[in-house]
């Protein structure tokens, strides 16, 4: 394996990891602060992708469409919170799972009805569509590099907000001792709503930046949701820092694994055997990682204090 290949795989892994972080951040906060399991969080990712598709089509301008998509994603998140989720905060996790599962089914089907069952795609925005020469044969798309940069900026912003602002402090407090925060006269419902809306918007944002790279299709959020759950479990529920570390870890392992598992196995097995086992093993890696971590540390890698 060449150094270039490894470098590219790392960049890809980093990019995938940051995408996962954007989704996992909201998920882990909603889970950590409110103790709420929101399966419909992955659907917000899909919503973001469809929004950017629709708004780019309407406005013809990526930047404008981006702003509109984010605002709409936020509004949709708040609407869902108002109509359904707020009734579920004091219900059991299983009720939350069931209800948010119903929302997944609904929104996936709605996307199919509105946009058709076919896979859609949007072009990379013009000013980001170039690529940087890495080696003689290979260039790396600027858009992916920008995605990495933006992901890092958002992660840093989120981290600073949680660590140094009043809202952040309340969120941290809320995730450990919600009764205490409420007793201090803080409007905990308001806090929940903010966390919820921002989480939905971040997932939507992930969908927006993923749209030009991956295909837009109904149900695109389902599998990434499961991976996001793996991320927050590895990172420890409610911990933004943990989610960040875990997201990058999962992104790298998954990307490197998919590319290298078959190759590594072919040292041990014959090529056709390696071709059979390789992809399956690569898909399993993150689950093996999570299971191993849970067996050793049953509460995750970096659990936020006091959660469950």
């Amino acid at each position: 394996m060449s150094l270039t290949l490894f470098l590219i795989l790392c960049l890809n892994g980093l990019q995938y990891g940051l995408l996962l972080f954007l989704i996992a951040a909201g998920l882990t906060l909603v889970f950590g602060v409110m103790g709420f399991i929101n399966l419909a969080h992955g659907v917000q990712y899909m919503v973001g992708a469809y929004l950017i598709f629709a708004f780019t089509g309407l406005t013809g301008h990526f930047g404008l469409a981006l702003v509109l998509s984010l605002v709409t994603a936020l509004l949709i998140g708040l609407l869902l919170e108002y109509v359904v989720f707020r009734h579920l905060y004091d219900r059991t996790h299983l009720d939350q799972v069931l209800a948010t599962f119903g929302i997944i089914i609904f929104l996936n089907e709605l996307a199919k009805v509105l946009f058709g069952p076919t896979t859609l795609s949007i072009a990379t925005p013009e000013f980001l569509s170039g690529s940087i020469q890495l080696t003689e044969q290979l260039r790396y798309p600027v858009y992916r590099l920008v995605t990495i940069g933006v992901g890092l900026v958002v992660a840093a912003g989120l981290f600073l907000t949680i660590s140094y602002t009043r809202t952040g402090m309340l969120i941290r407090a809320g995730s450990t001792t919600p009764e205490m925060v409420a007793a201090l006269g803080v409007n905990i419902k308001q806090l929940f709503r903010i966390v919820f809306g921002v989480g939905a918007m971040l997932a939507g944002f992930a969908g927006v930046i993923a749209a030009p790279i991956f295909a837009i299709e109904p149900g695109m959020g389902d599998n990434i949701l499961i991976v996001a759950f793996v991320v927050i479990i590895i990172g420890g529920v409610g911990s933004i820092g943990g989610a960040f570390v875990a997201a990058i870890l999962v992104g790298l392992i998954d990307t490197l694994g998919r590319s290298l598992a078959t190759e590594l196995l072919s040292f041990v097995f014959n090529p056709s055997m390696a071709n059979q086992i390789g992809p399956a093993l690569a898909s399993m890696l993150i689950y093996i990682l999570m299971a191993a971590i849970l067996v050793i540390r049953p509460k995750g890698l970096l659990p936020a204090k006091g959660v469950h």
């Binding site: 290949l5 890809n12 896979t119 044969q137 490197l256 590319s259 078959t262």
Partner: protein, 389 residues
């Protein structure tokens, strides 16, 4: 999904009872295709192509009013099986037309042929049923999966490619395609990569492609996978350093999503929208007028399938009870294929010409594959000798 075109099935659980009594002399055709997920466009083309043929014949095939029941297999083998079983047991259809994907075909095969219902594949053509396990109740109007890839191997050799990177999804048709390409390609295959079906991010694979020292890539990535692969291939700047050749990856279903990224890419196939024969050009024009997009080979094969059924039902005078007579009529392939010459081999797979194709941009800004040259004439698959029919 269920759409009953001539009589809308009623609401309740027991409603299907009523429709079994309605119009008993109708020709009932069930269709199992993929209409959801990334490859939904493929199934839609089959539905549209078949429907267009029905329209051209006033809703009748072989003089019989057709009741067409369309089912979506959702690209899930268990769903496909359920839908197929319901078609033969509940609706008691005369023909089943399906499927898009080979793995779906394998799932639906047994219950359909065991109920002695004719199964006609408008697309999937796995090797499984072409050789030893060929079946008197199964016909394919498309091709045998390996054939397009075999022809690609010939084209790659003719184009003078020496080192080719091969990539396909990890399922039956994917493996068939890789095997087919290897059979006829004279140069060396640098690497062989199998991705999961429905793969999203090809960046890791493309990194391997870029460092493999290949002068071309051969791939088979139908539907949404093809859109993503081609866009990411272009994004990685690989278009400048190597040739891209494929089957069912840059076709009329994926080109609307690939656009300029795919122009000039090579493909192999038995047909292209501009294949120069009058029937075909008329079909493409009529199709575009009705559905607003350029048909791909899927639509063409579905159109041919409808015409095949039409010819067979007419031949037996509408009497479908004598299965042997229906089979004999089907085997004659007494219809005008949009592809030109077309006949069935002993294994009920087609014998037809194959061509080199290239993606072009039409004057109106739409994209399609274009006929370049004929590579193999009256080309039969390599499994038919094992078939004892």
């Amino acid at each position: 999904m269920k759409t009953t075109l001539t009589s809308t099935a009623g609401a309740a659980l027991f409603s299907a009872m009523m429709s079994t009594t309605a119009m008993a002399e109708d020709l009932k055709i069930g269709m199992v295709v993929t209409l959801s997920g990334p490859p939904a466009a493929l199934g839609q083309q089959i539905v549209d192509g078949f429907q267009l043929a029905l329209d051209h014949k006033d809703g009748q095939l072989g003089g019989q009013a057709v009741e067409l029941i369309i089912e979506d297999d959702e690209l899930k083998p268990d769903v496909a099986l359920l839908k197929a079983t319901s078609l033969v047991e509940r609706e008691e259809v005369d023909f089943v037309v399906g499927t898009v994907f080979s793995n779906m075909l394998q799932a639906v095969f047994k219950p359909i042929v065991q109920s002695e219902t004719f199964l006609i594949s408008p697309n999937a053509g796995p090797s499984t049923f072409a050789g030893r396990n060929c079946n008197p109740f199964f016909f394919a109007t498309s091709y045998q999966n390996n054939q397009n890839a075999e022809v690609s191997g010939m084209i790659a050799t003719e184009e003078g490619f020496e080192n080719v990177f091969v990539m396909a999804p990890n399922y039956q048709a994917g493996r068939d395609n890789v095997e087919g390409f290897r059979q006829t390609f004279k140069g060396s295959v640098t690497d062989e990569v199998f991705t999961p079906l429905g793969h999203q991010d090809f960046s890791a694979e493309l990194a391997r492609v870029s460092t493999s020292g290949s002068d071309a890539i051969f791939t088979f990535m139908p539907g949404g996978m093809g859109v993503r692969l081609v866009n990411q291939f272009e994004g990685a700047g690989l278009s400048d350093s190597m040739k891209f050749m494929s089957v069912f990856t840059t076709d009329e279903t994926t080109l609307p999503g690939q656009k300029d990224a795919a122009v000039g890419f090579l493909a192999a196939g038995s047909w292209a929208p501009d294949l120069p024969n009058d029937d075909n050009l008329a079909f493409v024009a009529a199709f575009e007028e009705k559905y607003g997009y350029i048909p791909g080979s899927y639509a063409m094969q579905a159109y041919d399938t409808a015409n095949l059924i039409d010819s067979a039902v007419a031949e037996v005078g509408g009497d479908l009870s004598d299965k042997d007579a229906v089979r004999a009529a089907l085997r004659k392939a007494d219809f005008t294929s949009l592809r030109g010459d077309f006949s069935f081999n002993n294994n009920h797979y087609p014998v037809q010409d194959f061509h080199a194709l290239q993606v072009v941009k039409r004057e109106d800004g739409k994209f399609h594959t274009s006929f370049v040259r004929t590579v193999a004439e009256d080309y039969a698959d390599s499994f038919h000798a094992d078939c004892k029919m």
